[in-house]
């Protein structure tokens, strides 16, 4: 089948998977008694006072099919319930925190991809030389060092001991100044990304401050994910270099660089594409921990704190959100893979 058919087929597959995701989450929720479950249905914080009434109103004392239908209807209308812990609507809480998380991701991903691939390729090309050994140590450390330990270490060194930067997204005084500026209209929120917005608002001081607060969280994320990227790229590149067509290309007279960068690397990148899907999952997991360690007000921290306080409405919605992103990422990866390797779409 052509590429277009493959894309359409994969897109259609999304529907049953997301439906299954929703069913799973709903089933899991049934383990909890109605008084807590009702928080997923109610619309505003005031309603929390009359839980019993709302259990009846939202039919939590009705058969399970009715409940499921009601819940789905709610979700399609955009009502994801209220958070008992944060005392706000869940959807609002999620959307308010996505930009912060996205900002970390925005700066981390290019580094992970470019550094990871470059190191992996160089390591394979110069196998068993010092660079290779260093890279292998780096990648082994990266996969063995728990992200939370690395994060705590960095936090203890740079935030607590050296006091180079504070935890969170921006300093305390700047933070209060910022909210004042937003309220009074002197600061326009273009993207919700502090670094971009501060440049657009013509405030380089805020830009620098936002950037320096991004360094540590990004470092933790980058370290772990790059290690994975390097490992995969290296072994994939080694395998590509051992193929017979490489020897043939050299015999044909192609220069070493041409052979490495035009032929071997291109084919070595195929497994790397595959792994990028998993990397997205790893990053989402890593973000939960990293944001918690650095007290970064993103969605990961939001969900982790909610989970600690057993606030189901937030955790469930976060799981839905993560699953949606993960599934989409894997779809993009699969389509890319099918584009690169036509054998896949014909299978």
């Amino acid at each position: 089948m052509g590429l277009r058919e493959y894309i359409i087929r994969r897109l259609l597959l999304l529907i049953p998977i997301m439906f299954g995701v929703v069913i799973l989450l709903f089933a899991v929720m049934q383990f909890v008694d109605p008084g807590i479950r009702v928080t997923v249905y109610i619309r505003n914080v005031r309603q929390m006072l009359e839980v019993q009434r709302y259990i009846h109103v939202y039919g939590l004392d009705q058969p399970i099919w009715t409940q499921f239908y009601n819940w789905l209807a709610q979700i399609f209308q955009g009502n994801f319930g209220v958070s008992a812990y944060y005392r706000e609507e869940v959807l609002h809480g999620l959307l308010a925190r996505v930009p912060a998380t996205f900002e970390i991701v925005l700066y981390s991903v290019p580094i992970i991809i470019f550094v990871g691939i470059w190191l992996g390729v160089q390591s394979a090309v110069h196998k068993d030389k010092p660079l290779d050994h260093l890279t292998r140590i780096f990648s082994i450390l990266g996969t063995s060092l728990p992200s939370f330990f690395f994060g705590i270490l960095l936090s203890a060194i740079f935030i607590a001991q050296l006091k180079w930067v504070t935890a969170g997204r921006i300093g305390f005084s700047s933070g209060t100044l910022l909210s004042l500026m937003i309220q009074s209209g002197t600061w326009h929120q273009y993207t919700g990304l502090l670094t971009v917005d501060s440049l657009l608002n013509g405030n380089p001081a805020f830009f620098l401050e936002a950037l320096e607060h991004l360094v540590l969280p990004a470092m933790v994320l980058v370290f772990i994910q790059t290690a994975v990227m390097v490992r995969v790229t290296r072994s994939s590149m080694l395998e590509a270099l051992s193929k017979t067509y490489i020897t043939a290309a050299r015999a044909k007279g192609l220069s070493k660089n041409e052979v490495i960068y035009k032929h071997a690397r291109r084919n070595a990148l195929i497994p790397v594409v595959t792994i990028s899907g998993l990397l997205v999952g790893g990053m989402m997991t890593g973000l939960v921990i990293t944001e918690t360690v650095f007290l970064f007000p993103g969605v990961g921290n939001w969900a982790a704190t909610a989970a600690q306080n057993f606030d189901l409405s937030v955790v469930i919605v976060y799981a839905m959100f993560s699953a949606a992103i993960f599934v989409l990422a894997n779809l993009v990866v699969d389509v890319l893979y099918a584009y690169i390797d036509p054998r896949i779409r014909l299978g």
Binding site: I17, P146, D311, S322
Partner: protein, 304 residues
């Protein structure tokens, strides 16, 4: 049985040749020794009986001061908040890590073997149903779904620790199911399976005597690498407060307890450095071993 023994010996010599895999083996042996001899290395010196040895015993004479104490001869690694002894915690943490890891691996492997075998051998409707289930669970990033499970189960009265263990099992079985199903599919078409079927062997016999032994290699590699990541996931859950209870001999929990003290820089370095080192040594060992096994069992790089 002879070829299998020869194969194993060959594998062993290959593994011992690479310095990295030897390092991995040493690390794992060290961890095993710590785990097995924990009661002797870090005995309970408080004199009170312990219902749960993983609940770090507290010396009643030490009181319940919040401040962690630096390492002293009595407390080799110092104490963390509420005078919880870190040496006991870290050593018994090794034992706990193995126990938890084994519980999870055995369960996920068993479930994965059964379901994967059924799905791969019988195909059709059974395969579809099992695959849809795995699809749904694998649609989530692991730790996040585990968080959901722990939150729900804890709300329903489970202890967070048991909830965490069950959650890790629940996110782990689909991976093994798919892996084994893939192997079964690969082996199913082989001639010896056809021959066995033609000679009237029952399904179960075919599955256990023929398909199983030939699908097992990649499962071993994955399981050994997974052991490390299972313990890491458990530690991460404990670090988020979703795992072991306070005062438990669990590295993740100990670091969680040490987090407030990390805010003082290196003033209380032992509260998070020691548990962290233990985690790294554990995970590193398993990663190295898993890598070594993968290199050894990869048919392309053998017999060079």
């Amino acid at each position: 049985m002879q070829p299998s023994v020869k194969e194993f010996k060959f594998m062993l010599t290959r593994v011992l040749k690479s310095p990295l895999s030897v390092a991995g083996l040493i690390l794992i042996s060290y961890n095993v020794i710590l785990a097995v001899f924990a009661p002797f290395i870090a005995p309970n010196t408080t004199g009170a009986a312990l219902p749960d040895p993983y609940m770090i015993p507290r010396d009643p004479a030490a009181g319940i001061w919040m401040q962690p104490n630096s390492p002293t001869p009595g407390h080799l690694f110092g104490t963390t908040s509420l005078q919880v002894d870190l040496f006991y915690g870290c050593v018994w943490g090794t034992r706990f890590a193995f126990q938890l890891g084994l519980e999870v691996i055995v369960t996920t492997l068993t479930v994965g073997l059964v379901l994967g075998m059924l799905a791969g051998y019988y195909g059709g409707f059974i395969d579809e149903v099992i695959m849809r289930f795995t699809d749904i669970i694998l649609a989530f990033p692991g730790l996040i779904l585990a968080m959901v499970f722990v939150a729900v189960l804890s709300r329903s009265g489970w202890s967070t620790l048991n909830a965490a263990i069950l959650s890790i099992i629940l996110i782990g079985w689909p991976g093994y199911t798919r892996l084994i199903r893939g192997e079964v599919l690969r082996v199913r078409g082989e001639d010896y399976v056809e021959a066995a079927r033609a000679s009237g062997a029952s399904d179960i016999r075919i599955m256990t005597r023929h398909i199983l032994p030939n699908s097992i290699y990649s499962v071993i590699i994955v399981a050994s690498l997974d052991f490390g990541s299972i313990v890491l996931t458990a530690a991460a859950l404990s670090f988020l407060g979703l795992g072991s209870p306070p005062g438990y001999a669990d590295w993740g929990r100990l670091i969680f307890d040490g987090v407030p003290y990390a805010g003082s820089g290196f003033a209380y370095w032992w509260t998070f450095i020691y548990p962290g080192i233990f985690i790294v040594l554990f995970t590193l060992g398993w990663n190295l071993l898993g890598d070594a096994l993968r290199d050894v069992l990869d048919p392309l790089s053998r017999r060079k």
